[in-house]
């Protein structure tokens, strides 16, 4: 059987993060990732009748001369999207059953997304956090900026407790409107605080994408022997008989996922629940394809 090169495990064998990200991004990118937002671009899109508030510099005087009407030029803007990648590097992200940890998956995903975005000349910023901001790379659009992102990601370690809500709150005022906010986390956190911030981002017309990364074992809980389960973020531990609690656990985690998904749906947040055993290219393809559709529908509106 041929090995899927985008399988997280296979990918993890590639030591170079940049190479990993590019491999994924190049493979999945169709090159049609376009910005839905207008701006100063070199490609003319169409004319629109002037209305108060439109910038005067965009009035096409030639058309005015011919038609005696004021039209403003509209351009197809491709590069002006400001994206923020929030990568959760708390202790819980370090969990891996087999293959790659959630953090490793998140890092590769983040790098791939950054590459895709940078290739589209978008501004890409990176926020690595746990209970506070660990690393922050401000948004830039240069491709060379990718190295800085990769370097930051490579240095990440899953450590500390997570407080996603607080970190998002911290960035809420810094992030200008209409930005793309991608949060990659397991969201084992204060769900209400997160939800509150997500609603706020949505309110500020930001486009929010959540990548909810969960390990396969977290989703299936295939343990059998009596086990001491130890917390990855604090000193808590619990002795449990997996056979006894499996049913209840699965119910709990599914309820959590469903509630998260529901919240996202209500707030028009793009929610992606990702099992770390899922090949990364598949995740990206699906994401980009859906995103393309969404953008187009937004533009048409």
């Amino acid at each position: 059987m041929t090995e899927n090169p985008f399988d997280p495990v296979t990918l993890s064998k590639i030591a170079n993060m940049e190479l990993r990200a590019r491999l994924v991004a190049d493979a999945v990118m169709s090159g049609i990732h376009k910005s839905p937002y207008t701006g100063s671009s070199i490609e003319f899109l169409e004319h629109k009748e002037y209305s108060p508030g439109n910038e005067i510099k965009h009035i096409d005087w030639k058309v005015q001369a011919k038609t005696d009407k004021y039209y403003v030029k509209q351009f197809e803007e491709e590069t002006n999207l400001k994206s923020y990648l929030f990568v959760d590097a708390s202790g819980s992200m370090g969990y891996k059953s087999k293959g790659v940890s959630k953090l490793e998956y998140a890092i590769t995903l983040a790098a791939s997304l950054a590459y895709v975005l940078l290739k589209q000349s978008d501004l890409v910023g990176l926020v690595c956090f746990s209970d506070g901001v660990k690393q922050y790379v401000p948004p830039r659009s240069r491709l060379s900026h990718f190295h800085a992102i990769i370097k930051t990601l490579e240095g990440l370690e899953a450590k500390g407790q997570s407080d996603t809500g607080a970190v998002l709150k911290e960035f809420a005022e810094k992030i200008s409107h209409r930005s793309l906010i991608i949060i990659i986390s397991d969201f084992f956190d204060n769900r209400e605080a997160i939800t509150r911030q997500l609603k706020y981002f949505h309110f500020k017309k930001n486009e929010v994408v959540l990548f909810h990364i969960l390990d396969h074992y977290e989703l299936t809980f295939p343990f059998e022997a009596i086990t001491y389960f130890e917390s990855m973020e604090d000193e808590r531990k619990i002795l449990a008989d997996p056979k006894t609690i499996k049913e209840r656990y699965l119910a709990e985690i599914n309820r959590f996922i469903e509630q998260f998904k529901k919240t996202c749906l209500e707030n028009q947040i793009d929610y992606w629940m990702i099992d770390t055993s899922t090949p990364l290219d598949q995740t990206l393809i699906q994401f980009l394809a859906r995103r393309e559709n969404v953008l187009r529908s937004i533009i048409k509106r």
Partner: protein, 709 residues
């Protein structure tokens, strides 16, 4: 209080630690796993964790209990009530303590006898009673067979009773003691009634027949029977003198005594050159050596001479663990010569056909000087020249008639203490006899009766002797020894007697048609005996039967007054001794081996006067002197020996015992070690291993149910 049959198996309780250890090991070995979604585990586990912990704990306890209960069940627990009141130690109890005091309890391997241990055990039991407990102490020898004491609260009194107990020389009779114990307990209303039997478990003490009814009686009235085995379950080694068969001078030389002594080796080892010494009148007369295999007997004959008269003696073997049965006593009564006059009413030229031929041979079977009876034969005509008073016995053998003066002399002779025996024949005229010897004849003659036989006069079958439980001293020994021979004697002609009996007449022997064959009557100081057939072979074949000689010998000794009771018949400890009272005896002075004198008065038993002595509690020689108005006779003796049944140390098996007890709770324990060897119960509530096994089963079910869940 709970006790255990197999206490060693209680070590198995440590097995209860196994689940705990496994639990601890597993706890240590529990996989440690870092898990991110631990919050969900906490949420899920919040209730389940408590349940899980609880379940783990329950399983742990169940498994530990399972091991512990299994070990306890195998250790066979039961409620201990031994000497400590009720099972709970609070319930008042009534106890009867039966102490085996038979002579087998005198068995001693070192210094202490089993009986000492038995008394210690009894004191122990008394010591363990609470103030609310009552008890009674009884022995189980036949001497105590009517001893039914009341239950006592007073422990000091009970201890004193135990102190006063002494081991006797009798056999064990546990079952009669059980009867008495039940009788004592049956009237009592204590909630717990129990019987303690302190014994060496000798088999002979247990009458197995008794348990057919006694088993239910025990079960109905007694909560528990505790058997304390003072022999500690050990095999006893005993060598005993078990038999002594005297064969004196009936056919041999006068004064020559021979007897056979039997030694039984009850020990598992062979005995070699065991010295046996014979003493007569406290002087050693002979000795011999016994060699016997394990559990087998050997018989040896001892011969010696004694002077005429009454003697006593014993044979003894060296002391062993049980000394009581190493000595057996005997007495010898070498009678004085009896002079008998045989008046032949039908003398013949051919002596074989003479009336007295067989009688003379019977009285003096061997040489003249060898028999104690000296017969003198004379014809009717010769009688006139003889004096009856020169003879001890006068036989009238088919005598037709006697001169008048001799009839008168005969009457005087008998009344002054002489003895006459009439035997009949074809010369006898009943009317003459009735008129001439009427004052002497025990019964008046009636008619002659002929039965079938040689003459075939009638078709009737010959008469036979009636076999019955005769108690007449003449016949007692003969019936015991020769009852089968007696039935073969044929009588073809007999004289029937007048149906009206004379006063004082006693039948010695009857025919099968219940008419008298030999009848006696006390006449003055003397005795007259009538034999209703002929003394030769004319009317009967008795003279050629083996029984004839002992019958005639015994009859002569009896009527001449030289039968000193049943001297050959061994009297055993505890048995009643009876002696026919002479005509004018006032009393009998009895001296037992310990020197205690008792004066006995005659008692009438079945129209016969007897001296009866029941206090034969000690083996040895008992001396008797009969006091009468006219003379003081020389002392004579009789021996009392221990019953050899008790010498046999064979023990009753514990399983057999518990089976005998049926549904009654039984505990059997050794006294010294206190080891409980066997417990059998008919009621589950008394023993606990059934409950424990049930618990184990329940725990297994619960464990599998909970662990599966």
């Amino acid at each position: 209080m709970i006790s255990f049959l197999n206490p060693l198996l209680l070590i198995g309780i440590l097995g209860a630690a196994i689940p705990v250890i496994i639990h601890l090991i597993n706890k240590k070995k529990a996989i440690s796993h870092k898990f991110a979604a631990i919050d969900f585990l906490f949420q899920s586990n919040k209730r389940i964790y408590v349940k899980f912990k609880l379940r783990q704990l329950i399983l742990l306890v169940l498994r530990a209990c399972l091991f512990a209960f299994l070990a306890m069940a195998l250790a066979k627990p039961f409620i201990k009530s031994y000497g400590a009141g009720g099972a709970d130690g609070k319930t008042p109890t009534s106890s009867v303590i039966i102490v085996d005091e038979s002579y087998s309890m005198q068995y001693a391997e070192k210094t202490n006898t089993l009986f000492h241990s038995a008394k210690d055990a009894a004191r122990n039991i008394i010591g363990n009673l609470t103030k609310d407990d009552k008890a009674a102490v009884i022995g189980c020898s036949p001497a105590n067979s009517k001893d039914v004491p009341e239950l006592e609260y007073d422990k000091e009194k009970l201890t004193a009773i135990i102190d006063d107990l002494h081991s006797g020389y009798s056999t064990t009779d546990i079952t009669s003691a059980l009867d008495r114990a039940i009788e004592i307990l049956i009237a009592d209303e204590a909630p717990v009634k129990q019987i303690f039997i302190i014994t060496d478990l000798a088999r002979n003490g247990w009458d197995l027949q008794w348990f057919q009814n006694g088993q239910q009686k025990l079960h109905n009235n007694v909560a528990c029977v505790h058997i304390v085995d003072v022999s500690e379950g050990k095999e006893s080694k005993n060598v005993a003198l078990t038999g002594l068969e005297l064969r004196n001078n009936a056919f041999g030389t006068s004064g020559d005594i021979s007897f056979k002594a039997t030694v039984f080796n009850y020990s598992p080892d062979k005995i070699k050159n065991l010295l046996a010494q014979v003493f007569v009148d406290q002087k050693k007369v002979t000795q011999g050596f016994f060699n016997s295999e394990a559990n087998s007997a050997e018989t040896k004959e001892f011969c010696f001479k004694v002077e005429k008269g009454s003697h006593f003696g014993w044979i003894e073997i060296p002391d062993d663990n049980l000394i009581t049965d190493n000595k057996r006593y005997f007495t010898l009564n070498e009678e004085q010569k009896i002079d008998a006059l045989l008046i032949d009413g039908d003398p013949r030229t051919n002596i074989y056909e003479s009336e007295t031929f067989y009688l003379e041979k019977a009285l003096n079977p061997a040489r003249e000087h060898a028999s104690s009876i000296k017969p003198v034969i004379c014809s009717v005509q010769e009688v006139e020249g003889l004096k009856f008073e020169d003879f001890d016995i006068v036989f009238f053998c088919n005598v037709e008639m006697l001169p008048y003066e001799k009839v008168w002399e005969l009457e005087k002779y008998v009344k002054e203490g002489g003895a006459v025996i009439f035997s009949l024949g074809d010369k006898v005229d009943s009317s003459y006899y009735n008129s001439s010897f009427g004052s002497l004849l025990p019964h008046r003659l009636h008619t002659k009766k002929t039965f079938s036989g040689n003459t075939l006069i009638t078709e009737e079958q010959p008469l036979h002797v009636k076999i019955s439980g005769e108690t007449h001293p003449v016949m007692r020994v003969l019936f015991e020894m020769h009852s089968t021979m007696m039935s073969s004697i044929n009588f073809y002609q007999v004289f029937y007697l007048d149906p009206t009996p004379l006063e004082g007449a006693k039948t010695i022997l009857s025919f099968s048609d219940n008419t008298p064959a030999i009848i006696e009557r006390q006449v003055g100081k003397g005795k007259a005996v009538l034999f209703t057939s002929s003394i030769d072979r004319d009317w009967t074949d008795l003279p050629v039967k083996p029984l004839f000689v002992p019958l005639i010998q015994q009859l002569c000794r009896y009527i001449s007054g030289s039968v000193t009771g049943d001297t050959r018949h061994e009297t055993l400890v505890g048995q009643s001794w009876q002696f026919p009272s002479p005509y004018d005896a006032e009393n009998l002075e009895m001296t037992n081996p310990e020197g205690t004198k008792t004066l006995l008065s005659p008692q009438v038993i079945e129209n016969e006067k007897y001296f009866v002595y029941n206090e034969t509690h000690v083996p040895g020689i008992y001396s008797c002197i009969i006091n009468d108005a006219s003379q003081l006779k020389n002392p004579f003796f009789f021996p009392v020996n221990v019953d050899v049944l008790e010498s046999n140390p064979e023990k009753i098996g514990e399983k057999e015992l518990t089976a005998l007890m049926g549904e009654t709770n039984v505990t059997i324990r050794s006294f010294r070690s206190g080891e409980r060897r066997e417990v059998v119960t008919g009621e589950a509530k008394k023993t606990l291993w059934g409950i424990f096994l049930l618990l184990v089963f329940g725990l297994l079910v619960a464990e599998s149910f909970i662990s599966r869940k």
